[in-house]
């Protein structure tokens, strides 16, 4: 076969467009993989640092309490604190993943590379959100493993624990997307992180039972989804809860549906994404 014939054979079969079904699985998988590789690449900042921070919090609270550790209904402070720290770390990291990914892409201008491929708005929303969910869950698991040697962790109801861990990382991933799309510079997202996400993750019952708060704060706590996420995960671990776990489960589900619709709407209209 001559070279010319071979060439002709190639040129007579141009690459055909890949038929895309109802769901662009390859595109969705590619976006998800990109989102995961992004945080895995810098794992000292995205995985090691949060885990070390959580372990240090665990250490200083136990050192400060010493042997005076109070117990709630048979739950020691160590058992009480561990799920709180896991949820705090999960929340902060899920938010950081999507917000930084989208904002950096916007600032650097490579967001077009994500918007150009044949991905539907809902596929973009799911792809980004699942990247954040993965980071949240991986970090949570790493904190759990790191705490195991120091805290007597028993899982009371694994399904409830997994439900709240998943819902919380989804909620913060979606919030991170919304924040990342809304923000125009790093200052904006730093403000949201510093003034909203970090305070809520610290003050919503991570380190103490809400019974320690003054009466009039209880109402505020009971409309705070962060409280229900921490409380729900704590119930999954210890069987102890401050609030109603079923109410919490429904509330986080509703909030997630609303946030998904909001994030999807932003992707569909191209708010602050497309000129």
């Amino acid at each position: 076969m001559s070279r010319a014939m071979a060439f002709e054979k190639i040129s007579s079969t141009p690459p055909r467009p890949r038929p895309i079904g109802r769901v662009n699985w390859l595109g969705l998988w590619t976006l998800y993989r990109k989102e995961v590789m992004r945080f895995v690449n810098v794992f000292t900042q995205t995985l090691a640092a949060p885990v070390v921070t959580a372990l240090l919090f665990f250490a200083i609270f136990n050192l400060a309490l010493g042997r005076a550790a109070p117990a709630w209904e048979g739950v020691t402070y160590e058992e009480f604190l561990a799920p709180g720290l896991i949820m705090m770390t999960l929340v902060q990291n899920a938010f950081a993943n999507t917000s930084s990914s989208i904002l950096i892409s916007k600032v650097q201008g490579n967001i077009v590379d994500v918007l150009m491929p044949p991905l539907a708005p809902w596929e973009l929303t799911v792809g980004f959100a699942m990247g954040g969910v993965s980071r949240g869950l991986v970090v949570a698991l790493a904190v759990l493993l790191g705490l195991l040697p120091f805290a007597p962790i028993e899982i009371h109801s694994p399904l409830i624990a997994v439900y709240f861990a998943f819902m919380a990382s989804l909620m913060l991933s979606l919030l991170g997307m919304i924040g990342g799309i809304w923000a125009e510079k790093f200052d904006h997202i730093a403000a949201v992180t510093n003034f909203v996400i970090t305070p809520l993750s610290f003050l919503s019952g991570t380190f103490y039972s809400l019974e320690r708060l003054p009466e009039n704060w209880h109402i505020a706590a009971h409309v705070n989804p962060f409280f229900y996420m921490i409380d729900g995960l704590r119930y999954g671990f210890t069987g102890y809860s401050d609030g109603d776990v079923l109410v919490g489960a429904l509330l986080v589900l509703l909030v997630n549906v609303a946030l998904f619709a909001w994030a999807h709407r932003m992707m569909a209209t191209g708010y602050k994404l497309k000129a």
Partner: protein, 274 residues
């Protein structure tokens, strides 16, 4: 133009400005450059650290307040406020010195400073002074806000004046050294995560040393951060776990050590010049 005009006599050539050592104007210029840069992102550099220190304070106060006793001399909050202020100051000093060094190195603008008629050690001093300034503002901010809720005695005011700038400078100089060492952000984050964060947390900032098991106490007494925090706490509340003079001496020694190391490394162009 008259013949007496000195500019004509010199042929309009710019004259060489005599530069002494230290090069005050150059030092002031890079200090101002660094300070203005940090002030443009004041939310991340000053407000964020103050807020997160106040969050620590709130969380400790709510979770632990009734479990701690200090023999009636000081309340738990009076014990905690200076500790957390010093903790925030040390972290901010370190970071606000380390981040700019890494950033300028990666962006290549460190070369612009080295080309200027500044000695390398003057450049190091500039970075450290900027970091220390940021740290002092953060520490003062934490104290000021906390003062609105917790009565602070300022038992030994001269000690604040002596120890706070020294400690801020010490950790800022350490920041310039790790900044110089790190070739990328990831490496800086490794030092942060596995060295600075544990040193800052496992010091006497959050708990009294006598609560810790004996082995832990020995380790914590080997941690220089403990002395910086204890000296600040002595100054603000009067309560102390170590001898105030010893604490001040340790901080001073650390400052001298960190400063000599940093100035030396900049002078030989470690990791800067090929």
């Amino acid at each position: 133009m008259s013949a007496q005009d000195p500019r004509e006599a010199l042929g309009d050539a710019p004259r060489v400005r005599p530069i002494g050592r230290p090069h005050w104007r150059g030092l002031w210029t890079i200090y101002r450059f660094g300070a203005v840069r940090l002030s443009r992102i004041v939310l991340e550099t000053i407000v964020g650290p103050i807020l997160s220190a106040l969050l620590f304070l709130a969380v400790f106060a709510i979770a632990l307040a009734d479990t701690q006793g200090f023999g009636g001399e000081v309340s738990f909050l009076q014990f905690l406020v200076p500790g957390i202020a010093a903790f925030a100051m040390i972290q901010a000093s370190y970071e606000m010195a380390a981040f700019p060094v890494v950033y300028d190195k990666l962006e290549g603008t460190l070369a612009d400073q080295i080309m200027s008629p500044l000695m390398e050690w003057e450049i190091a001093l500039g970075y450290a002074l900027v970091g220390a300034t940021a740290g002092l503002i953060v520490g003062a901010g934490v104290l000021a806000v906390a003062w609105a809720f917790v009565p602070l005695a300022f038992a030994n005011p001269w000690m604040v004046v002596a120890v706070a700038p020294l400690a801020a400078l010490a950790f800022a100089f350490l920041g310039t050294v790790t900044g110089l060492w790190a070739q990328k952000w990831d490496q800086l984050s490794v030092v942060d995560t596995f060295l600075m964060l544990p040193l800052a947390f496992l010091s006497g900032a959050f708990f009294a040393l006598d609560r810790v098991p004996a082995v832990g106490e020995t380790l914590i007494r080997l941690n220089p951060v403990t002395y910086a925090i204890d000296a600040v706490r002595y100054a603000v509340s009067g309560w102390h776990a170590t001898e105030p003079w010893l604490a001040l001496a340790v901080v001073a020694a650390l400052t001298v050590g960190a400063a000599s190391l940093s100035l030396r490394l900049f002078s030989i162009g470690w990791k800067i010049k090929a």
